[in-house]
Subunit: 308 residues, 4 copies
C-alpha cells in the first residue's frame, strides 16, 4: 500500500446530505431521520482494497467489486460505513428492534422524563387477522365494522391509561414507577447508530415478509429512503444478492438435478426418502419443506413433480 | 503448556447443582432459576494459567490469582464461565435488562402465543416517591392511603386492558397486533445466557443503588443466590474490588494529598480552581462532584475542609 | 410456559463426554480438544420452544424443529449451546482464527513465558503453488525436488531463528521483546470458547474451499470430530442447509426461469444485459458472475445457454 | 423531545479536519492516521440529552455533562462517536491490538499480495531487560555493546528470512504459504474503525504502563495526537477520571478509615487479617496487594502504618 501523503477530505454523499435531519414519517406518529453518517460506496471499496496493496487498484471497477463482496459475503468492508438515525417508534416495535445487538443506542428515558404523550393507534381498516397457516403471522383484515369498534375501544383505553399515569405523577409517584402500566403502543425515541453490514442484516430480517408489518415499515423506509441514497451501489447489490436471492438446500438441489436429467422417478424417490410425500385422506399431507421447494420451483418455472 | 493426555471430566459445582432448576422468587410473580452452566472458579484459574505455560502452576494459589485478576481487571479468564438462566420479568424491567448486549436471549413470543396472563402489581405501601435530588430516582413512599387507591386503580386497569386484549383475540385479531396495548407491567419469560465477566458487569450496574428497585431485586437474587454459590471466590473478589471499591478521581487525589500534608489552604485553592466552591445566598452552591468527594471523605473518616 | 417445579439435571452428551480432553491432531504438531461444553441438540429445542409457551410442546418433533430453525436462519436458539476448546495452532493460522470476534479467548503468553518451542514445518510434497485463477489461493504442488530444498531451508531457518531467540534471552532481553523475530509458523495455544451459532459461522467460512488449507484442517476437525458428536442433528442440518446449499441470485433466477420456459433467447438477452457476454478474440471474455452461474447450472444438470 | 424540522448539517471538528490523512509516525516505520470520523464532543451531549426530553436542555452545561458521564461510566453516549484510522504496525504488536474485539477491521492481506517489505528493527540502545519483579514486563536496557551485536544479528536475520521468502515466491509457492516463516516484526497495515467508548477502553489498557512499550507508543499517539483534537472535553475527562484515577478496594478503604480515625492498631489488625503482614527472615514478606496499597498511600501522602 502506498501511503498517500496528501491530506484527506471526509467522504460526503450529496444525496444523503440533502435529507440530513429530515424526518420520514412511519406509522401514524413515528419517523426515521438521518442525523450523521460516515463513509459511502467508496469507503467500502477503499477498505476492500487495503487487502490488495499497491498496484492492484485498477483490477476491478468499483461497482463490480462491491457486488462481488456482497455476493460472496465478504462483510468487513461494509462495516466501514456507519450511520446514526433518530427514530420514533412504538415500544412494542422497539422491543423487536433492540434485539439487534450490534448497534449503539441512546433511548429517551421515561425514568428521567415524563413519557412521550403519544401511542400508536390502529385505524378501523388496519386490524389484521390471525394467520391460519402461521402461528406468528397475520393475513387479511378484520371486518371494518368490527374494526371500528376495536379502534374506538383502543382510543378509550389509551386515554384512560394515560389519565392513570397522570394521576400517579400528580400523587408524587416516581416516574420510573408511574410508567409501569403504560401500553406497549406508547412511542419512544432513540438515537440508533449502526454500521452498514449490520444494518443490512437488520434490513434483511425486517424487510422480510415474516417480519411484523410495523417494523417492516421502518425497515422499508430506512432501506428505500436512506440506504438507497447513501450507498446506492451496495444497496442494489443487497437487493440482487440477498433480498431477492433464492436458497436451494442440498435436498432441493438433488431433486432439481434429477428433474433436469429427466429422471422424474428418482426425484420422486428422493422426496419420498426426505419424508415429504406422506399421504393422508385428502392427498399429500402438509410438509413445510416440500412447500418451500414448491414455491421455488414455481418462481423458477420448473414443474412440480408430485402435482399433476 | 504440557498437554495432559488423560481424559477430562466436566467441571461441576455441587452447590449450584443443588439449585439447578429451582426458581428464586422475585417481585410478586417473577423468578430466576439456573438452567445450566459451564465452568467454576477453577476454570478462571485454568484460563489465566494458559498464559503462564508449564512450570508456573504453583506460583500463585487459586484464590490469590482470582483476586488479582479481578483487582487488575484482567477480564478474559472470567469469560470462560457461562451460565444460562430462565427468568420471568415484567416487560418494563426487561426493557432495561435487554440493553446488555453481550448475552444470548430467547424470549417468550407474544406473536406466537397468547401473552402471559400476569402483570406485576404494586401493593399500597410500595408506591415510591419521585426523588427530589435525582431526576431519575425515587425516595421514600407515597402515603399508604393514597397508595391504596393507586393499587386499586392498577388492578382495575390491568383487568380492563386484559379484557380488551381478549376481545381482540376473540375478534380474530392477530396476536402480534392484539398485544399492542398491553401494559409494560405484563410478565415475560426468557432464557438468558451470559458469561461471568459480562454478568459481573450487569450486576455492578444493576445492584448499584442508581438502578431501579425492580431490576435491582433481580440482580441481587442472581448475585447472592446464584453467583455466590457458583463461583464463590470470584464473587467475593467482585464484592471487595468492584462493588465496594471507591474511585478517587485525579481531582480527589490532589485534594486528599494536600490535606494529608496538612495543607488545608492549598486543598481549598484546588477546590476553588475546580469550581466546586461557588457560593450563593445560602452558602456553598450545590456541586455534584464536590458532594461526591464529600461522601468519599466521610467513608474514609477524613475531614471535609470546606465544612466547619 | 408452565414452570416445571422439579429440579433439573445438567445436559450431558455421552458421545462428547467420551472425547473430553482427548486431543485431535491437526497439522504436524497442532491439536484441538474439547475442555468443557454446555447444552446439546435438546437445548436448541428448549430455547426455541420458550417462544411457543405451554401447550405447543408436541407440534413439531425435535429434529424437524432444529432443521426448520437452521433453514430459516433463526439463529438465537443455537446460541444456547457453548463449547470450550483447547487448541494448538501456528500463529500464522491463529491470525486468521482470531478475526472471529464473537469468541472468548485466553492465549498462551510469550510475554510471560518462553515461546513454545515448535514451529509448523512443511514437508517436501506439501509446498502449494500459487493459483493462477485466484490471487489469494493455491493449486497443486511445487515439484517435490524443489520442495525438498524448500523444506530443508525451512528447517534451517527455524533453527537459526530459535537460536537467535535463545541468545536474546540469555543476554537478558525481556521475553516480550526477544520474541519479535520469531517466525509466524511458531505454535501458540489457547482456550477458545464460542456458542454454536457463531461456531457454525466460523465453520461455514473456514471449511469453505476459499479458506486456507491450514485453518480448513482445524475447521474440518472441529466440525467432524466435535460438533458432529455434540449436536448431531444441528450438524446435519448445517450440512444440508448451509454448507451444501446453493445460492441463486436474482439474476440467476431470472435466467433459469427464462430457460425453464424454453425462452433461450430472452435468457441470452438477460445475460447480455448483465454484461456477462462480452466477447474478445478468443470468444467469451472471462466474467466471474457468469462462471459462478455456470457452475450452478452444471450442478443442477441444466444446460448453459451460451455454450454450444 | 421536540423534533427540529430544520435540516441538519454534519458535525465537523476543525482541529481534526486539519490532520485528516496526515500520518503520525510511530516506531521506526509505523504510523497512525485519521481517515474519517463521525461526531464530536457535541454528539456525546446530544445523545445523553435524548434521555432528558425537551425542556431540560439547559440544565447542565456541556462540559459538566460530559465529565459527569465519564465519572459515572455512562458509556453509551460515547459510543455515538466513531473514528476510522489507517495504521501500520508490526504483526507482533498487531497480535495484541486485534484482541480488542469491538472494532471493525480490514487488514492488508499477505495471501493476496506480497508481504510488506519492512520489519521493525531495534536499535542497540533499545533492547530492554527482563523485569525482575514482573514476569511479563521489562526494565532498563541491555548493555549497548551487547545491544549492538543483537541489533546487528537482527538485521541479518530479517534479511535472511526475506530472502527465503523471495526464493519461495520465485519457486512458485503460493503467497499464503510462502509467508509462514516471516518474522513477527514484519509490518502490516489496516483500517481500524471504533467508537469512542471502546477506543477509551483500548487506550486505558494500552497507555497503561503494564502494556508493552510498542503498543503503548501507538496508544499514546492515538490519544494525544488524535482524540485530544477530536473530542477535547471527553479526552480531558478521560484523563481526570480514568487514566489518573485511583481505585481503593474495600480493604484499602477499611485500613485508611481506621488510620484516619487515629486507630493505627486496628489498621494493623486488618492488614494482619488480610494476610498482608506475614514475616520472613528479612522482615515483611512480599505481598502484592499490600504493596499496591502502599503505592496509593504514598500518592495520597498518607503514612504507611507497617513501615517505621
Amino acid at each position: 500500500m502506498t501511503l498517500d501523503p496528501d491530506k484527506l477530505a471526509r467522504t460526503h454523499v450529496a444525496a444523503l446530505d440533502q435529507i440530513l435531519g429530515v424526518p420520514f414519517k412511519v406509522l401514524d406518529d413515528g419517523f426515521v431521520r438521518v442525523v450523521d453518517y460516515m463513509g459511502s460506496d467508496e469507503s467500502i471499496v477503499q477498505a476492500a482494497r487495503v487487502s490488495y496493496g499497491k498496484g492492484t487498484k485498477k483490477i476491478s471497477e468499483d461497482r463490480g467489486l462491491i457486488r462481488y463482496l456482497m455476493r460472496h459475503r465478504h462483510t468487513t468492508p461494509f462495516e466501514m460505513c456507519e450511520i446514526k438515525l433518530h427514530v420514533r417508534v412504538p415500544m412494542d416495535c422497539w422491543r423487536q428492534w433492540i434485539r439487534h445487538r450490534t448497534a449503539n443506542v441512546n433511548e429517551y428515558s421515561t425514568r428521567y422524563s415524563v413519557a412521550i404523550d403519544a401511542a400508536q393507534k390502529t385505524t378501523p381498516d388496519k386490524w389484521r387477522q390471525q394467520s391460519s397457516s402461521s402461528k406468528q403471522g397475520s393475513q387479511g383484515f378484520v371486518d371494518p365494522r368490527q374494526g371500528k369498534s376495536l379502534s374506538h375501544e383502543e382510543v378509550e383505553l389509551q386515554e384512560y391509561v394515560r389519565q392513570v399515569y397522570q394521576r400517579r405523577l400528580q400523587a408524587g409517584v416516581a416516574r420510573e414507577q408511574a410508567r409501569k402500566d403504560l401500553p406497549l403502543s406508547t412511542y419512544t425515541e432513540a438515537y440508533w447508530k449502526i454500521d452498514l453490514h449490520n444494518l443490512f442484516h437488520f434490513l434483511s430480517l425486517r424487510i422480510d415478509d415474516h417480519a411484523q408489518v410495523e417494523i417492516r415499515d421502518y425497515a422499508q423506509t430506512i432501506g428505500c429512503e436512506v440506504v438507497a441514497k447513501w450507498c446506492p451501489i451496495a444497496w442494489q447489490a443487497f437487493l440482487d444478492y440477498r433480498m431477492e436471492m433464492m436458497n436451494l438446500t442440498k435436498l432441493d438441489v438433488e431433486i432439481i438435478s434429477a428433474l433436469a436429467k429427466g429422471q422424474r422417478e428418482s426425484a420422486m424417490a428422493l422426496a419420498e426418502e426426505f419424508g415429504w410425500l406422506k399421504r393422508g385422506e385428502k392427498g399429500l399431507k402438509r410438509n413445510r419443506e416440500r412447500s418451500e421447494l414448491e414455491d421455488k420451483l414455481r418462481r423458477l418455472n420448473l414443474a412440480i413433480p408430485w402435482r399433476d
